[in-house]
């Protein structure tokens, strides 16, 4: 799948069966094992990473979501 296809597939334009098919809780990070690291960007456009975030505190709560 090309990058543009991945972007279009992930950012579906209508909430339909495609939304449910993408759910993948079974592959979420396992308890007790190092989670996969990814780049993320703050609201000012500065790039950082999940590891840079979780390494700052004894524990870090991460919530995923959106406006809709």
């Amino acid at each position: 799948m090309s990058e543009q296809d991945r972007i279009s597939h992930y950012n579906y334009s209508t909430f339909g069966p495609q939304a449910g098919e993408a759910l993948n809780w079974g592959s979420s990070p396992a308890i007790g094992k190092p989670a996969s690291d990814f780049p993320v960007w703050d609201l000012d456009g500065n790039e950082t990473s999940l590891s840079a975030i979780w390494s700052q505190h004894t524990y870090t709560v991460i919530e995923f979501g959106s406006l809709t």
């Binding site: 990058e3 991945r6 972007i7 992930y10 950012n11 579906y12 334009s13 209508t14 909430f15 339909g16 069966p17 939304a19 993408a22 759910l23 993948n24 809780w25 079974g26 592959s27 979420s28 990070p29 396992a30 308890i31 007790g32 094992k33 190092p34 989670a35 996969s36 690291d37 990814f38 780049p39 993320v40 960007w41 703050d42 609201l43 456009g45 950082t48 999940l50 590891s51 975030i53 979780w54 390494s55 700052q56 505190h57 004894t58 524990y59 870090t60 709560v61 991460i62 919530e63 995923f64 979501g65 959106s66 406006l67 809709t68």
Partner: protein, 161 residues
Amino acid sequence: MNEIADKYADKDIGSVFIYTHEAHPGENWRHHTSMEQKYRHARALRDVLGVTRPIYLDALDGACHEAWGAQPNMSFILTRAGAPVYKADWTHPPSVAEALESLVAVGERRQAGERLAPFKIERQEFRYQDSEGFQKGLERAGPQAVSDFAEMMKRFQVPQK
């Protein structure tokens, strides 16, 4: 979740929000086609919905969101080394708070000299379904979001309350 973040900040517990795709795109908040648009939506999360925790954006292709389970509103608690000690496929603040209380207590008990060993459990939790709040969220997204959801519920024959 803002309140939880504030309550546990002095216990060296951080709290962040990762912005994903729009779970229910509509005319007012459309699906993302650029990072600029995603930034606008994420700023609205702060300015319109009042999220006070640091907000970070996942890449436009949702690489992190997909790798971590792709649920629309999941939550994790991770150690400083990046290992999850709590994960939920839906964010339920009382559940997160309970987990944090337990983790803080573990730290205090260890400091008191207690020998504690970790173990894993899995259990089913239940949360109150705020149908009215959810419907308002769809309406905020736009008429398309409302009709798309209604169509999906009809498909699965789930009566809407």
